[in-house]
């Protein structure tokens, strides 16, 4: 596989991984500064990037350099200090809190390192819960249940549908989490170290799932340190010191 690496000065120019592909996520001069009392800590210092629709991308870089912050801003979990995030043509900064929630519910699925399942609900109920807040998915509980079962089947956990998270292995919990992220049929899946808490066998299972999901046309963006994961990505975005330092297209 040939590689093409572009050095990026993210403060000044937009780096497009694939100029011919339509971008589903675009950021312009994105900055984020955390303020605690009088102390200001800049986490992102102006990131310009475009992530093509249907791509499998990884955001890599050393710990503490702004990868997760970038994912939170791109996913609308947090507000930028300045700059824009545009998701499928929608400028996040223009959305109010409710509209942003609707965007998260309909267009983005999240997968986290520590699975973040609701511990008092079964695997099936965890997947169903994601549908509670989206107006565009079936409101009837029977239909929700059928879809949740279908998704658990997709991740090979239909036999664990009624198990609580603490009855599942780490890999199984992460697969439930992936099923949940797909509940509202979002176009984008954002994942923060999805294999960071898994053994190698579980990691392999989860990666296989992700590739299968990517094959259905979803845009997948993964924040990771794991080379097993980043090796499979089509595009690598490297974040250093709060800036996009390079983009590698494979």
């Amino acid at each position: 596989m040939s590689k093409k690496t572009v050095a990026a000065d993210a403060m000044t120019q937009t780096v497009s991984a694939n100029a011919s592909s339509e971008a589903i996520i675009t950021t312009h001069g994105l900055t984020k500064t955390y303020v605690k009392g009088k102390i200001e800590t800049p986490a992102l210092r102006g990131v310009n990037m475009e992530i093509p629709r249907g791509s499998f991308s990884c955001i890599i870089g050393p710990s503490g350099h702004g990868k997760s912050t970038l994912m939170h801003l791109v996913g609308g979990l947090d507000r930028a200090s300045s700059g824009d995030v545009v998701i499928d043509g929608i400028k996040i900064a223009d959305l109010n809190d409710n509209e942003l929630s609707e965007l998260r519910a309909s267009k983005i699925g999240f997968v986290f390192q520590f699975f973040n399942l609701l511990q008092n609900l079964t695997a099936l109920e965890n997947v169903e819960t994601a549908m509670m807040f989206n107006k565009n998915v079936p409101a009837k509980s029977k239909e929700q249940r059928a879809r949740a079962l279908e998704l658990l089947k997709l991740v090979g956990l239909e036999d664990k549908a009624h198990a609580k998270p603490n009855e599942l292995s780490g890999g199984q919990q992460q697969r439930v989490s992936i099923a949940r992220s797909l509940a509202n049929d979002p176009e984008i899946l954002l994942m923060d170290e999805p294999t960071g808490n898994l053994d190698s066998k579980s990691e392999e299972e989860v990666l296989d799932q992700l590739l299968r999901i990517h094959a259905t046309g979803k845009t997948i963006v993964i924040v990771t340190h794991n080379t097993e994961v980043s090796d499979r990505a089509e595009i690598l975005y490297e974040v250093r010191d709060g800036k996009l330092s390079s983009v590698t297209k494979k």
Binding site: H72, D78, M132, F133
Partner: protein, 386 residues
């Protein structure tokens, strides 16, 4: 999955905390409902007693205090300070019918009883008594007693037996049919006999007045006051005096119940605040999967409201049971102040509805601040919480 089922899962996940929080509000509500039910029962009984007297106006000496006046309803001994001249003056007024009473204290088998002097002929008509056994008095000079039904039953007394009053034996000539009020607990003698036995001059305690035309009760009152220097109260006024005293007792007790409810509401605040800290990450998860601030607010408010609803339902049920079972015990005390009364808890459906509504309202108010706190967490600060 819907909000309610999610809330029910949340609320019952820590069973111990759930039960103790629920107990707090349920106990407060139980006290509140029991007090309302018993208070309602007392009110009903006092009204019943007042109606049983059959008088529209009560004439008493001017120096009687409210306590003396309401003692008419409670069968307590009363001072004998109205003269027979006063009685005659009032009796001369057209359109009214008067019945004098002389209430004194005695004892049977060391138990206090009310000895009530009456005018034989007047009282027969005024109270429309029926005889269960024996005969009524024939004249005001009869040195005998007629017993109320409950007194006869309580001391197992009947015809042929005697009652000793102030050292003198009086034969029992008759027992009244039960009338289910204060009259059942009287030991009746003609007024002159009581006056002689208790060494009271020609005085009586108070006068019951029936008026011909109830619409003109105020003009009769004016006519009485015009003739003699007495106090005239309507039975409604006396009733209001009694109910006002009872009302202030009720308000005090309900205030105590209300304080326990307020304390319970802080229990809800505490439980909900703890839940927010424990479930901070979960709030973040819900926010990340698309829930709005309003959804989080709704979830926490619903949890509080369910505490209120369940606390209200359980508390009301316990309160009703307590009032039903406690009524006879409380009756023992109530009987001391209102002889012949029978106390039953007055459980109105509206009381239950009010109690449950109040419980929910308190819980909702208690839940406002925690729910607001929870809904104001940003998704990223909640999801990043360790």
């Amino acid at each position: 999955m819907n909000t309610l089922s999610l809330v029910m899962r949340n609320i019952t996940r820590r069973k111990g905390r759930f039960i103790f929080t629920l107990l707090g509000i349920a106990i407060g509500m139980a006290a509140f409902v029991a007090l309302l039910a018993l208070g309602g029962g007392m009110r009903a009984e006092i009204r019943n007693q007042a109606q049983a007297m059959g008088a529209n106006l009560i004439v008493t000496p001017t120096d009687w205090c409210t306590f003396d006046q309401i003692s008419i309803f409670t069968g307590e001994p009363l001072p004998a300070s109205l003269s027979s001249e006063v009685l005659d003056e009032i009796r001369d007024i057209e359109g009214i019918f008067v019945a004098p009473y002389l209430t004194q204290a005695s004892a049977i088998d060391m138990t206090p009883v009310a000895v009530i002097g009456i005018e034989v002929e007047t009282m027969k008509e005024f109270s429309q008594w029926e005889m269960a056994e024996g005969q009524y008095f024939s004249t005001d000079a009869d040195r005998s007693v007629v017993l109320g039904a409950s007194i006869a039953n309580q001391f197992d007394l009947g015809l042929g037996q005697e009652v000793i009053i102030r050292g003198e034996s009086f034969p029992i000539v008759g027992v009244l049919e039960p009338v289910d009020n204060l009259d059942d607990l009287g030991v009746y003698l003609p007024i002159p006999v009581v006056q002689e036995a208790f060494e009271i001059d020609d005085n009586i305690s108070y006068i019951g007045v029936q008026v011909e035309n109830i619409e003109n009760v105020e003009s009769y009152r004016a006519a009485i006051l015009d003739r003699v220097n007495v106090a005239v109260s309507s039975d409604e006024q006396l009733l209001e005096s009694v109910l006002a005293i009872l009302g202030s007792v009720e308000v005090t007790l309900q205030a105590v119940a209300a304080i326990s409810l307020v304390a319970a509401s802080f229990g809800i605040v505490n439980t909900m605040m703890t839940a927010i800290y424990e479930r901070r990450r979960e709030i973040g998860i819900l926010r990340s999967i698309g829930s709005k601030r309003a959804d989080i607010f709704k979830i926490f408010m619903l949890e509080s409201a369910i505490y209120g609803l369940l606390g209200g339902v359980i508390g009301s049920a316990v309160g009703v049971l307590v009032s039903l079972f406690a009524a006879p015990t409380i009756m023992a005390g109530f009987d001391q102040i209102m002889k012949g009364a029978s106390l039953e808890a007055s459980i109105e459906p509206m009381t239950i509805v009010t109690a449950i509504g109040l419980s929910i309202a308190i819980a909702v108010v208690a839940g406002l601040y925690p729910a607001w706190k929870a809904s104001n967490l940003t998704p990223v600060e909640a999801i990043s919480y360790e």
